[in-house]
């Protein structure tokens, strides 16, 4: 990674990035696939964002514009990171961290977007109801939030201003949803789905509500959510039908959980909890709306 260069002149950013990738000397080319606007409400979020971008970069060469609202004059720092793959191939990403007054940020970000490439907005923290959220959302074709931070109400607010919205917490539920769906893969078990009236979930509130919303929308039926307890991570999902219990659970933070289907041997299931950067990378692969999520959110 090249070191960060600072400037207060946004017009200088492009030439600084060109220099950072050696373009002025070697004429190297840039292969970038998307723009990512990252809103970091404070310095801690800036650091965690940069860390996440370092993980996302190898699979998604991108230009990241990290926007931080401050009560100070505009400052921008510029850096470029490159990664070498197994076949000695190199991919590079660019990063511009812009600190400016909230009112100035949308225009600053607009001037830094690479033309013709998709724009994603990754909003961290509670989804703001101020003008910044709306202005940046309108620049983006997809808004990425985390209901663990902003709650499901925050996700709904992002939908109102941003259109296509992704939720990292929902993305993290994929292994659980896959394991729960797997409980009913057999023909007899699939029939049992018709008799499910409630789901017991031990886990965080947003994830429990999303799990119940998904079941309601997928099965098109009223399903009661019963909370088994509030924990930091999802630990168990149980459904009872006709006196039989279908269950997926994970103890601790390992990658493996157990699925229990009446009449079968218990079997292990992958319940990996991918890091946020992996979830973010997956969401950047998708340009269209996630209809499944939208329906689950509505039913949550």
């Amino acid at each position: 990674m090249s070191g960060d260069d600072e400037t207060s002149d946004l017009a200088a950013v492009e030439s600084m990035l060109r220099a950072a990738r050696g373009g002025d000397r070697t004429g190297s080319v840039r292969a970038i696939t998307l723009n990512l606007i990252v809103v970091a409400p404070d310095a801690d979020h800036v650091d965690t964002s940069i860390e996440a971008l370092e993980h996302v970069g190898p699979s998604h060469p991108l230009r990241a514009i990290v926007a931080t609202p401050v009560d100070a004059e505009l400052r921008a720092s510029v850096a470029s990171s490159c990664w070498v793959g197994a076949s000695e191939r190199q991919v590079c990403s660019e990063r511009v961290v812009v600190a400016a007054a909230a009112k100035a940020l949308p225009s600053a970000v607009t001037s830094l977007l690479v033309p013709d490439l998709p724009v994603f907005l990754w909003w961290q923290g509670p989804f703001g109801e101020d003008g910044l959220a709306g202005a940046l959302s309108r620049l983006a074709s997809r808004v990425i939030v985390d209901s663990s931070e902003c709650g499901l109400e925050g996700v709904a607010a992002a939908q109102l201003v941003g259109g296509s919205v992704a939720d990292l917490a929902w993305a993290g539920l994929l292994p659980w949803r896959d394991a729960v769906a797997g409980l009913f893969d057999g023909p007899k078990d699939a029939k049992a789905l018709e008799r499910i009236r409630a789901v017991d979930v031990r886990g965080p509130e947003n994830e429990a509500r999303l799990m119940a919303g998904w079941l309601r929308s997928a099965l098109d039926s009223e399903i009661e959510l019963r909370r088994e307890g509030r924990t930091h991570h999802l630990e168990r999902v149980t459904m009872q039908t006709g006196g039989k219990e279908y269950l997926v659970e994970r103890r601790g933070r390992g990658r493996l959980g157990t699925a229990i289907v009446p009449g079968l041997l218990d079997y292990p299931v992958l319940l990996a909890a991918p890091p946020r950067s992996s979830l973010l990378a997956d969401e950047l692969s998708r340009l269209s709306s996630d209809r499944l999520f939208e329906r689950a959110l509505q039913a949550a």
Binding site: A31, T33, P58, S59, P61, W83, G85, A86, S87, R89, Q90, V91, L174, P175, R177, D178, A179, V180, A181, G182, F184, D185, G186, P187, D189, A190, L193, L215, A218, L219, G254, R255, L256, A259, V261, G263, L264, L265, Y267, P268, V269, L270, A272, R291, L292
Partner: protein
């Protein structure tokens, strides 16, 4: 012939999940589970699918072979294979769960053995809820295929309660007649849409990228025809010799080993018409149409070679006749160059030159589309003397990517045009790890997607294309070429006759 299993109602919770993965409960049966292919490719590929979370939740493997072994020994065998050959390291926690899906049954490839296997499969269905769905992988020498398939039919392993699919490795016969005989035997137990003929070349990401390049980009298709393309060169070069496979190679030679399958499949992808959909039958229909329009190969349009001693990458290497287990009077060709002609509207008059061989200058697989020169060059003759016609090169391996050759003005005081290359490296936009071809193909077989598998009509037509040449080459001797070269002189003469020359990959 097997009947169609009644499909259960879909699980509504599966909608939108498992994009790219397999979800239907499945038992994967490997015949010849202790063999080389199973060890090097199949078990590591299945493990990597588990790592990627792409296996069905209800899944089991049964290894079947003659060796006496229990489940535990087979799990140890599989672990050793994965540790040695997997592209990802073994994760102990994941292995613990994965290994519980591995089972072993010893027995012969006969009805008695298969009845025991059938009982075992039923027991696994009952314990694991795999629903009677089976993928049978024939990882044995081809000579066992008819025996295994017949015994499966006799013991009704081809008619489980769920679906039954059978995966067959190449070679699919050694000529047209034997290919038809094999197909007749297999069709007695399985319908064509239950048969997955694997050509691992088609599972490579970069071969599939030919589809994407041709049919996702509007700017190339209008010039992809005989009006604009002068000719096409397809090269499949290996730098290695026959190594320890002399006995196999003596039976096959370069035509059966490379041309009849891999090379003609790549050729078909490059030359076929756009399919209506990216689905198995539309794609295989178009490939079959293209092969039907391709004229059979004859000695008038083909040359053969056999590598002699020489130097490859600076190391002295032996000639083919000096390799262990090669008869001193062998006339097996290790190199072919040939001209393929396609009799259809798009390609009439535009030849496809193919070459393939062992111990060539380097390992490379590429397709070079050579465009025609502009009808008129409005520049002084001395300005364009170094200017070559446009060429588009699809590199399949190594350095997967695309090169476009075009003319540009050199920065000189007088007008001079030079040829420059614009390179796109596949890995410069996507640094993600590329799955092994076997992962892709095993997953597709489990999902019931036959797109990347070869259909019987294409197999037969491929044999019809190469059979005349194989017959004519039974006699005579190939021209010896030095190891580390690009083949015999006759190969250059083949193109020189048409006023063309091979590009240097």
């Amino acid at each position: 012939m097997a009947t169609t299993a009644k499909r259960p109602a879909p699980n509504p919770l599966r909608a939108g999940l498992r994009v790219g993965g397999a979800s239907e409960p499945t038992v994967f049966v490997i015949y010849g589970a202790t063999g080389d292919l199973s060890q090097r490719k199949l078990l590591p590929a299945i493990y990597n699918l588990a790592v990627r979370g792409l296996l069905p939740n209800r899944f089991a493997v049964i290894g079947y072979a003659r060796s006496e072994m229990d489940n535990e020994a087979f799990r140890d065998f599989a672990r050793a294979a994965v540790e040695k050959f997997s592209r990802t390291p073994v994760d102990d926690h994941l292995w613990q769960a994965f290994s519980e899906t591995l089972h072993y049954q010893s027995g012969a490839f006969d009805e008695e053995g298969f009845r025991v296997l059938g009982d075992r499969l039923e027991a696994i269905d009952a314990a694991h809820g795999t629903g009677g769905n089976r993928v049978y992988y024939l990882s044995t020498p081809a000579s066992f295929f008819p025996v295994i398939v017949q015994a499966m039919g006799a013991t009704r392993l081809n008619r489980p309660p769920g679906f039954a699919r059978v995966v067959i490795e190449k070679p699919f016969g050694h000529d047209l007649e034997s290919a038809r005989e094999l197909a007749d035997v297999v069709h007695r137990s399985f319908r064509e849409n239950q048969i997955y003929r694997i050509d691992h070349y088609l599972g490579k990401e970069t071969v599939q990228n030919i589809f994407a390049f041709r049919f996702a980009n509007a700017i190339f298709e209008p010039v992809w025809n005989n009006t604009h393309v002068d000719h096409v060169q397809i090269t499949v070069g290996e730098s290695i010799g026959v190594e320890h496979r002399a006995a196999f190679y003596e039976e096959t030679g370069v035509v059966r080993d490379i041309v009849q399958n891999h090379l003609l499949q790549v050729f078909a992808l490059v030359a076929m018409e756009p399919p209506a959909a990216f689905d198995a039958d539309p794609i295989r229909d178009e490939k079959a149409k293209l092969l039907r329009a391709t004229k059979p190969m004859t000695i008038e349009n083909a040359v053969r070679g056999q590598y002699g001693e020489g130097y490859v990458a600076g190391e002295k290497v032996a000639g083919y006749l000096d390799e262990p287990n090669v008869p001193p009077d062998s006339n097996t060709p290790t190199f072919i160059a040939a001209k393929l002609e396609v009799g259809n509207w798009r390609w009439a008059g535009t030849p496809f030159y193919i070459r393939a061989g062992k111990r060539l200058a380097k390992r490379v697989t590429e397709v070079a589309v050579q465009f025609k020169r502009p009808p008129h060059l409005p520049f002084p003759t001395d300005a364009v003397e170094q200017l070559e016609a446009n060429a588009l090169v699809l590199r399949i391996q190594p350095d997967e990517g695309i090169s476009l050759r075009f003319g540009a003005k050199a920065p000189t005081p007088t007008l001079a045009l030079r040829t420059v290359n614009m390179d796109f490296l596949y890995g410069a936009s996507f640094l993600a790890e590329v799955p092994e071809a076997y992962e892709t193909l095993i997953l597709d077989a489990m999902r019931g997607d036959g797109t990347l598998f070869t259909r019987q009509d294409s197999v037969e037509r491929s044999w019809e294309i190469v059979d005349p040449l194989l017959g004519q080459w039974r006699k005579g001797t190939p021209q010896v070429y030095p190891s580390g070269s690009w083949g015999p002189d006759l190969s250059d003469e083949l193109l020189a006759r048409d006023g063309r020359r091979w590009r240097r990959p």
